[in-house]
């Protein structure tokens, strides 16, 4: 994992201002086009609300969730664009036994499909439920938002950020955080006072501003600690434990065998 040497302030990040989202789903379409993903056959109201497809999948890397709520007696929609959060210290990268996931210095967390053995630990580990599996295939691989790494590397913005007419700003993480805080300060009545992604899972490259409380919109409540630190606090002990167990048992074995040798010599 190269993530420890990355300056997160310089990585590219998405600032998604959900208060400016109109729910046009241009991002969904752009994502499908750029990644060459097939359409899904869907029916309305098979998921949790007024949104389609019902969830992200091997064919759908991003999706706008619709949340009904009432304002001044009127029915209103709030929107939440779901996608890979591109964590600073990604859980998927830390648990993958072959290191198929990598946090790039540019920001996106990318997946190398040629290494993957298909254990699906990344899916279990991801706190946001992002990696999806090709359940339709006999030899499936993992699919997820690439952060449009190929575009970003060539100086372009990701497809969804380019397509979005209103809500997505793309730039360095430090700038995006500054911008988000500026907006929070300028219009305190407009925003819920949290930048989601600033500290979640140790910080992510996708930052959200919302009007509603986060849990009402369907944002998961997530630890502020980088997830890999939870497993690493146990795993880092491994070499020490290995040698301690070996040493202790060798000593015990030597002692026990010596006891018997001494006893036998005394008998003779």
């Amino acid at each position: 994992m190269s993530s420890s040497t990355i300056d997160y302030g310089k990585t590219r990040a998405f600032l998604i201002d959900t208060t400016k989202c109109t729910g046009c789903r241009g991002c969904q379409v752009a994502c499908k086009q750029w990644n060459g993903l097939p359409a899904e056959k869907t029916r309305f109201f098979t998921g949790e609300g007024y949104q389609n497809p019902p969830q992200m999948s091997e064919y759908t890397f991003t999706r706008v969730k619709f949340k009904d709520y009432e304002k001044h007696g009127q029915n209103e929609f709030a929107f939440y664009k779901e996608m890979c959060m591109h964590c600073n210290d990604p859980a998927c990268a830390s648990v993958c036994p072959v290191g198929a996931f990598r946090k790039t210095p540019e920001g996106p967390v990318v997946y190398d499909s040629t290494k993957c053995i298909g254990c699906r630990f990344c899916m279990v580990a991801c706190p946001f439920g992002v990696p999806k599996y090709e359940w339709s295939k006999a030899f499936p691989l993992v699919k997820k938002c690439t952060g449009c790494y190929s575009r970003v590397k060539n100086g372009l913005h990701p497809a969804c950020a380019t397509a979005c007419p209103t809500a997505i700003t793309y730039g360095s993480r430090a700038e995006m955080l500054k911008e988000a805080e500026k907006r929070l300060k300028a219009r305190p009545d407009r925003y819920f006072k949290v930048i989601y992604g600033k500290e979640e899972a140790g910080g992510t490259s996708v930052l959200y501003l919302t009007q509603q409380p986060l849990d009402e919109l369907g944002f998961r409540k997530i630890t502020k600690r980088p997830l890999p630190s939870y497993t690493w606090q146990a795993l880092r002990l491994v070499p020490g434990i290995f040698l301690t167990v070996g040493g202790t048992l060798s000593a015990i074995s030597w002692f026990q065998h010596r006891k018997e040798r001494v006893r036998r010599e005394e008998e003779e």
């Binding site: 830390s94 036994p97 072959v98 290191g99 053995i117 298909g118 997830l227 497993t231 060798s250 074995s253």
Partner: protein, 401 residues
């Protein structure tokens, strides 16, 4: 007679039970074939919400501690050098060898790209618990295979390997304990990454320690379980006196386990513990029937030395362990409003086939290899030696150092 005919005749002589096991193994093999032809999505009930199901929960996370008998009895008999327990070692090693081989089978079945399994050796990621477990399982399966060669070489009279294996007996026991400590605990580390997914009743930073401790006392209980069944159904001598030695060790480990578990519950969990009745019930079943009851049974002298009660206590421990691993890897991971995962028919047939394979191969190995005739007082411990004379009485000194 052709070889095929000889084999067919041999099989005809088997007990009905063995034939049933053969049918189940065949069904499991067929189901695995179907899984490879049609893929995981079509044959299992796994989906993006449940990326891991029965095969990980049972065939890997549960089967590994159930195969812990080999390393625990190895420590007790070889490292602590309690020689009289020698007769229990070989059957435990056979069980461990079969158990780990079948864990490998289960793991390969569950991988989406099993043909790339070798990538674990090519691209190391030391931050991954899965990497560590894969390496350990490979290493330990190798050690178990070598240990299993012991009765095989005896059977075929391969004297030089036998001599080598006897010299390495204690180093192997220590190596087995080192490797097992790592992967038994790391199976618990798997679930430390599931911070906001695994329920607080099970999630705490000491989960790896709990997995290791429960593997030790379950490993010893498995030895009791197996020796009792072998005595009852395979006409082997009654070992309940030897088993009573184990039942004196087990409550110590269980005691530490209970202490760690209670400490973790009281001080290391964050958030509500008893907010979901179903999970509370599962937790209570696991702790009361699977830990406290057998703990008290093992503490009672009368029960400890009674062969029927030994078996019952051991069975309860095994039940508790299986439930614990399912609670951690499956039930505790289900969120409150999520649809519930039930394994598909194919998944179930494969897992039943794997269990049947374990029983079948154990019985067959016991039938054709000397795994029970290992009483130190009854067995000639000297190495059959064509090269130089050993002791004058034909018995060399037991050199296990």
């Amino acid at each position: 007679m052709t070889a095929a005919k000889i084999i067919m005749n041999e099989i005809k002589g088997y007990h009905r039970f063995i034939k049933l096991m053969m049918v189940l193994v065949g069904a499991g093999a067929l189901a695995s074939l179907i899984r490879f032809i049609f893929g995981l999505g079509a044959t299992t009930n796994l989906n993006d919400t449940y990326p891991w199901g029965l095969w990980i929960s049972f065939d890997v996370v549960t089967a590994v501690p159930l195969a812990a008998g080999a390393f625990t009895i190895g420590i007790v008999a070889h490292v602590f050098h309690i020689r009289k327990l020698e007769p229990l070692v070989r059957p435990a090693i056979v069980t461990g060898f079969l158990g780990y081989s079948l864990v490998c089978v289960g793991l390969l079945l569950d991988l989406g790209q099993p043909q790339r399994g070798i990538n674990v050796l090519r691209y190391w990621n030391v931050h991954s618990p899965m990497f560590e477990v894969s390496m350990c399982v490979m290493a330990y399966t190798t050690v178990l295979t070598l240990e299993f060669l012991h009765p095989v070489s005896e059977r075929f009279g391969w004297h030089i390997p036998l001599r080598l294996l006897r010299t390495l007996e204690v180093p192997f026991a220590i190596l087995a304990a080192m490797i097992s400590t790592l992967h038994q605990s790391t199976l618990g580390t798997f679930f430390l990454i599931a911070v906001d997914k695994l329920h607080n009743l099970w999630y705490n930073p000491l989960l790896p320690l709990q997995f290791w401790l429960s593997a030790i006392f379950t490993g010893l209980s498995i030895v009791i379980f197996e020796a009792s069944l072998v005595h009852r159904y395979m006409g082997q001598p009654d070992e309940s006196e030897l088993l009573a030695t184990l039942t004196r060790i087990i409550p110590w480990v269980m005691g530490v386990y209970i202490a760690v578990k209670l400490y973790a519950l009281a001080f290391l969990t964050h958030g509500p513990l008893f907010d979901r009745p179903a999970l509370t019930a599962l937790f209570a079943a696991e702790m009361i029937a699977g830990v406290f009851v057998p703990f008290l049974m093992y503490l009672t002298k009368r029960i400890r030395s009674d062969k029927r009660m030994q078996l019952r206590a051991a069975s309860l421990v095994i039940f508790g362990l299986v439930l614990n691993r399912f609670n951690v890897s499956m039930f505790g991971m289900e969120q409150a409003n999520q649809q519930i995962y039930v394994p598909s028919f194919i998944e179930s047939v494969v897992t039943i086939g794997i269990i049947a394979a374990h029983i079948l191969f154990f019985v067959l190995v016991a039938k054709y290899f000397p795994i029970f005739e290992h009483h130190p007082e009854a067995t000639d411990y000297s190495i059959p030696d064509h090269f130089r004379r050993i002791g004058k009485d034909g018995h060399g000194k037991v050199s296990a150092a």
